[in-house]
């Protein structure tokens, strides 16, 4: 019987192909979010008015969203733990709990956007708010993508007890999205 040839690991690094690919994705994301954060820092240093604008963001909602993401990171690493034990039920359970918390994050983000937009702070109000909506919107898009991929892995792979390594791969991505928020939170919500 002929075998389908699949490169499962890279001999140069010893890292499984899928996981190595995710590390490269994370490296590219460092430039995307790093560039945004660097631009924000420079503008924040340069313009005193940005601190006044930051005072209008809701520390409470930002804090609650930080809690959701930190907890979701904890859940996804537990899902990874159970995936290593090939425990499909527990792995799926924690993947869906992670998705649920991602949903809470997005829900609170929409409430926050609604409040800000109805108070006249839109994408076009000034440069601070342009940056705010770009950075948080791009981050929210990453959260949404992570949720969709996680649901596909939970129902397409883990339910059928295959491709267990994908839980770790999506976990690495999800943790990175969490790290980005760890830096956006003090920049946009705390330092006023």
């Amino acid at each position: 019987m002929a075998h389908q040839i699949i490169a499962t690991s890279r001999s140069a690094t010893g890292i499984p192909t899928g996981r190595l690919a995710v590390w490269w994705v994370v490296a590219s994301e460092i430039f995307i979010f790093g560039g945004l954060i660097a631009a924000y820092l420079l503008n924040r240093f340069l313009h005193g008015s940005w601190a006044q604008e930051a005072a209008a963001t809701s520390t409470l909602i930002g804090g609650i969203n930080t809690f959701w993401l930190l907890t979701s990171s904890w859940f996804v690493v537990i899902a990874h733990h159970y995936s290593e034990q090939k425990n499909a039920k527990k792995t799926r359970q924690f993947l869906w709990l992670t998705i649920l918390l991602g949903g809470f994050f997005m829900g609170f983000k929409f409430v926050e956007y609604y409040k800000e937009i109805t108070h006249g702070m839109t994408l076009f109000t000034n440069n601070f708010w342009s940056f705010y909506y770009t950075a948080t919107g791009l981050h929210g898009f990453h959260v949404l993508c992570g949720m969709v991929i996680m649901a596909i892995i939970a129902e397409g792979d883990i339910k059928n007890e295959r491709n267990w390594h994908r839980v770790e791969n999506i976990g690495i991505y999800w943790h990175f999205v969490d790290i980005v928020w760890i830096f956006l939170f003090p920049l946009l919500y705390i330092a006023k």
């Binding site: 660097a38 604008e53 809690f67 904890w74 770790e168 939170f185 705390i190």
Partner: protein
């Protein structure tokens, strides 16, 4: 990576939550005490940003397993971060300066409260207006 126990993950999570609470309380305390200037910076920088770095390290090292991952992965990420810093400090010199050799930035800081000065979206146009 199978040696990682749930107990360790739980401990890291609790530590992250404690750090998160401190990072919120520090700047709130600065507001309550009415701190301004250097003393305010001295409280906010370590509590908000110092703790953010510690939290990011804990997530990367323990949740992303970078501590036990093959060395190539940390190299890839650290190289990316290093290039980011080159970019940051490379452009910072020009952006932060108000004038240089045969150029100046005739820029005035907009005044007004949050969300109420719609005219400040012209900032970029003014800043880019270098005179040669």
């Amino acid at each position: 990576m199978a040696g990682n126990s749930l107990k360790k993950y739980n401990q890291i999570y609790v530590a992250l939550l404690i750090l998160f609470i401190i990072s919120v309380l520090g700047p709130e305390l600065a507001d309550i005490l009415g701190m301004e200037g250097l003393s305010r910076m001295a409280l906010i920088l370590p509590t908000a940003f110092g703790i953010a770095i510690v939290k990011a390290y804990m997530v990367a090292a323990h949740f992303m397993h970078l501590k036990t991952e093959k060395i190539y992965a940390p190299y890839i990420l650290l190289a990316s971060l290093a290039l980011m810093f080159v970019f940051f400090f490379g452009v910072k010199i020009d952006i932060m300066a108000a004038e240089g050799h045969n150029w100046e930035k005739p820029y005035e800081e907009p005044t007004g409260s949050a969300g109420h000065h719609g005219d400040s979206h012209h900032d970029h146009g003014e800043k880019a207006d270098d005179h040669h």
